[in-house]
């Protein structure tokens, strides 16, 4: 209980400090110490709580509820103020609707509202807390270096580093609140805080584009917020205690399916599933640590968190299957779009959307095996994706570009950062690394589920697309260009700490995932489903062997070998200089340039995104229709 309160409140205290600090050194120390403390406490939480099962913490929550209500009204007013200032009528309308719904359930005050234990902790909460605590903290540390560079490069705008860290720490606090809250009203409160924080962070640079994209993110998430609030209103008129997650999940599907569909919808908006994927792509205008935070450990993970919590309700219902279809098609289509993207951050954005789609598909199917895969996906994705974003951020400051084509031969120009990126990419799609293990588990889970074949086929094609865009990026990084200079220089120490830690985590989690599964995921499944799921011992041993091989093979460079002669690449017989210039047919000196395939006629963003939006919208409509007509339980 103390640990929970510490994790929720301590980041807020740090945030308050951010209002006061003036000097860079002070801020550096406060952020570093806070990050270390938050990380350490989440680990302490793991060590002390992992074998305790599910614990509920009951206390008189009335004063807190009142405070939350006041703060929620404050958030609504703040958003209204922004919306009026920028004349965004859609946001004004949505905020008013949402506020009305909040006032409705606050005024209703039925017995259902009284949740005995507003806070709780179980193994899944611990996993989420570890992701938020460790990865979130590392991103904070990285930001110290990044933001200094950022203002060196953008001298025109006023330095708002303090505001930046203030919002980030509030964000982290809200995420802890979200994963520990049992009362749905509390979950909703923290949900709204994350919406507000992401709005402020996306619009942080205050450029026209940033403001526009921030409002896109805002209205989409407000739509989700409205659905969430509507679900709470519905539950308010149910028997006592129904607003607690513990009650919701044991109350029988027929009763709960309508609010579950509403909350599922809210989860889709927050997890940036089609048709709401555009806000996450637009969020790329924010400083890179923000993207890392939104994509890996916070925001979008809040969306899938709530979906996984409700998975037992979704299991075996039409609502669940339509939800799973939205996720599966988002996975397929977003993976396709990623092939056509030349901008590194956009590739990462679409890959996030795709992977979240897979998690949503697992949650919608909702069997124990599917949830096992979903939780593994959440863990591995958080680590690899934050590593990728932070590396791209560092590279961007050095080479002044986010284009993948400009990263040609990065292994020569910035060897250490490129190595980090290669680890990150390998983590995203290659055996025996994390994401592939999860995809494997997902195939296994889908195939055993009723009507699972459709999802298997979508997954198989989606991962073939995934392979293409990751491998070609990796190849680009590993090109050996003979004439390039090393421009890596001194990478900021804070950035370096974060990058190395995340790369280490990518590798270590692959070794210890059976342990994570055994002490956290399997007990969670056992208490929620009564069954377990896991990969057999044999296969784990084989994967560990592969991992060792991959770690050992680079050492082969050290093996004794025959003397070799270096030759220039084959240029079709045309004389070429060592830096790959050659004489063309007209006698002019031409530089040889190589570029990747992007296959935009097939995988163009506009065409595919339109198809995805239409398709997924249809499934969402079917989902609500099924929820309304008698629950649609199969």
């Amino acid at each position: 209980m103390q640990l929970l309160l510490f994790l929720i409140l301590f980041p807020l205290i740090t945030a308050l400090f951010m209002l006061a600090v003036r000097r860079d050194t002070e801020r550096n120390w406060i952020v570093k110490i806070s990050a270390l403390l938050i990380g350490a406490v989440t680990v302490l939480l793991l060590v002390t709580q992992f074998d305790k099962g599910t614990l509920y913490f009951g206390f008189d929550a009335e004063p807190v509820n009142l405070l939350m209500f006041v703060l929620e009204m404050g958030i609504s007013l703040l958003i209204l103020w922004f919306a009026v200032r920028y004349r965004n009528y859609l946001v004004i309308a949505l905020t008013l609707v949402e506020t009305a719904l909040i006032l409705w359930f606050e005024a209703a005050a039925t017995p259902a509202v009284a949740v005995k234990s507003p806070l709780f902790i179980d193994q899944f909460s611990i996993i989420m807390a570890l992701i938020v605590g460790i990865i979130g903290s590392l991103i904070c540390v990285y930001s110290l270096g990044y933001m200094r560079h950022f203002y060196l490069n953008h001298t025109g705008i006023p330095d708002r580093t303090n505001t930046f860290f203030l919002i980030i720490f509030v964000f982290i606090s809200a995420m802890f609140g979200l994963v520990f809250a049992n009362s749905l009203i509390w979950v909703f409160f923290f949900w709204e805080v994350t919406t507000l924080c992401s709005f402020l962070l996306i619009g942080f640079t205050k450029t026209e584009e940033a403001t526009k994209n921030a409002f896109t993110a805002l209205w989409m998430n407000l739509l989700g917020g409205i659905a969430f609030a509507a679900a709470i209103v519905y539950l308010t008129y149910q028997p006592a205690g129904m607003l607690g997650l513990d009650q919701v999940l044991v109350s029988g599907k027929a009763l709960i399916l309508i609010p579950a569909a509403l909350i599922g919808f809210a989860g889709l908006t927050k997890a940036a599933q089609m048709p709401f994927s555009s806000w996450l792509v637009g969020a790329m205008v924010a400083p890179t640590p923000v993207s890392a935070l939104l994509h890996s450990s916070t925001m979008v993970k809040a969306g899938v968190y709530i979906l996984v919590r409700f998975a037992p309700v979704f299991q075996g219902t039409i609502v669940g299957y339509t939800l799973a279809f939205v996720g599966a098609f988002t996975f397929l289509i977003a993976s396709g779009i990623a092939i056509s993207q030349t901008n590194a951050k956009r590739v990462l954005a679409y890959s996030t959307i795709a992977n979240l789609g897979l998690v949503v598909a697992c949650a919608g199917i909702g069997t124990a095996e599917a949830i096992w895969a979903a939780i593994l996906l959440i863990i591995f994705h958080a680590i690899s994706k934050s590593l990728m974003f932070l590396s791209v951020g560092t590279v961007e400051h050095r080479i002044k570009s986010r284009e993948i084509e400009d990263m040609n031969g990065l292994i020569v120009r910035m060897p250490r950062i490129a190595a980090m990126m290669v680890i990150g990419i390998a983590g995203m799609f290659l055996a025996p690394f994390g994401m592939l293990i999860s995809k494997w588990a997902a195939i296994q889970a889908f195939i055993d589920a009723p009507f699972g074949l459709v999802f298997v086929v979508i997954l198989i094609f989606g991962s073939a697309l995934t392979l293409f865009f990751w491998a070609k990026w990796m190849g680009k990084l590993l090109v050996i260009t003979p004439d390039a200079e090393n421009v890596e220089g001194l990478v900021d120490k804070n950035e370096w700490v974060a990058l190395v830690s995340l790369a280490g985590l990518t590798a270590v989690t692959c070794f210890i995932f059976p342990l994570i599964s055994a002490i956290l995921i399997e007990p969670f499944l056992l208490s929620n489903y009564g069954t377990m799921a896991m990969i057999s011992q044999d296969n784990i041993i084989i994967m560990v062997m592969m991992l060792f091989l991959i770690v050992l093979l680079p050492l082969s460079i050290l093996l004794p070998h025959r003397k070799h002669r270096a030759l220039p690449p084959y240029m079709g017989g045309v004389p070429a200089t060592p830096d790959m210039h050659f004489q063309n047919a007209l006698g002019a000196r031409t530089e040889m340039k190589l570029a990747n395939y992007y296959i935009s006629p097939w995988f163009g963003e506009v065409r595919l995104a339109r198809a995805g939006v239409c398709l997924c919208s249809v499934f969402i409509v079917i989902m609500f229709a099924a929820a309304l007509v008698g629950g649609g339980i199969l």
Partner: protein
């Protein structure tokens, strides 16, 4: 259960069998083209000669990629013949292929670069069908383990004819035969020279050849799996399939990569997925 013996036998015998298959391949191809052709042992002489050649590289990292490709391709086959998980086998195969592609990228050469892109496109084309074949076998035998699938009493082919045909279709890509020898071919006189392998020479190219032999044996092992209940039928199937691939190779011109990808995907969905869906349907009724 994993049997180490299967893996060891594969590691020792596969290069011999693979090399012989390559020799027979060349002999039959020669006869189809009205030539006499080289001795069946010619592939061994060729590879032996490659290993005696000077070690000329574009850059040093190539050695690492070739070695990784070699080891993981062997790992793939060894895992298969040890009776391991079929999905993991396919993932390991992909890993091996990716190392080859990275080696081609690293060379910074126009021909090997295009070869690398096309090789990735080929992986994208064949992988769904491979995975569907594994899924189909799971649906029939309720296990992904090669040992269980091989021990299944019924003839898997009877239940999965569509999947089998689909597999044969993409097998052409893996065997690097026309019309799908897009990223590289057995002859270095196509429009992109030798594509993905252009910049590998001497011992490195020797290793790649041997790796291909390992791969061929593994792939034919996969074909055998469809007929595992009857070993005689399995051997006959392998022979027929290989002769069929040779006939296709010699009667077809190379197609564009677009057609290769599209047709492979269509085949995977129509022959592969529908076949499995039909099994589900029959199983339910």
């Amino acid at each position: 259960m994993i049997s180490l013996a299967g893996a060891v036998v594969f590691i020792l015998l596969a290069p011999v069998i693979g090399g012989l298959i390559a020799g027979i391949d060349r002999k039959i191809t020669a006869h189809m083209q009205g030539r006499v052709g080289p001795s069946i042992l010619q592939p061994f002489y060729d590879v032996g000669k490659l290993f005696e050649k000077e070690d000329a590289v574009v850059n040093e990292t190539q050695r690492f990629y070739v070695l990784s490709y070699f080891i993981f391709a062997i790992f793939t086959g060894a895992l298969f013949f040890a009776g391991g998980n079929l999905l993991l086998v396919i993932f390991a195969l992909t890993l091996a292929e990716v190392f080859l592609v990275l080696g081609a990228y690293a060379a910074n050469s126009p021909y090997s670069h295009i070869g690398a892109e096309r090789e990735l496109i080929q992986i994208m084309a064949y992988e769904p069908m491979f995975l569907l074949a594994a899924v189909g076998m799971y649906v029939v035998t309720k296990s992904f383990n090669v040992s269980d699938i091989a021990g299944f009493p019924g003839l898997i082919f009877i239940l999965l004819p569509g999947v089998f045909l689909g597999f044969i279709y993409v097998l052409t890509i893996k065997l690097r035969k026309s019309p799908f020898d897009i990223s590289t071919s057995h002859h270095a006189h196509q429009e992109i020279v030798k594509g993905v392998m252009t910049e590998f020479s001497g011992p490195a190219l020797g290793f790649i050849e041997v790796t291909h032999w390992y791969e061929v044996v593994f792939l034919l092992g996969f074909v055998y799996l469809f007929f595992a209940a009857s070993p005689v039928l399995g051997i006959i199937a392998i022979i027929i399939v290989y002769l069929l691939e040779l006939a296709i190779d010699n009667t077809n011109a190379r197609v564009k990569w677009q057609l290769a990808v599209k047709s492979s995907w269509v085949v995977a969905i129509i022959l592969g997925a529908l076949n499995i869906a039909a099994l589900y349907f029959i199983g339910r009724v």
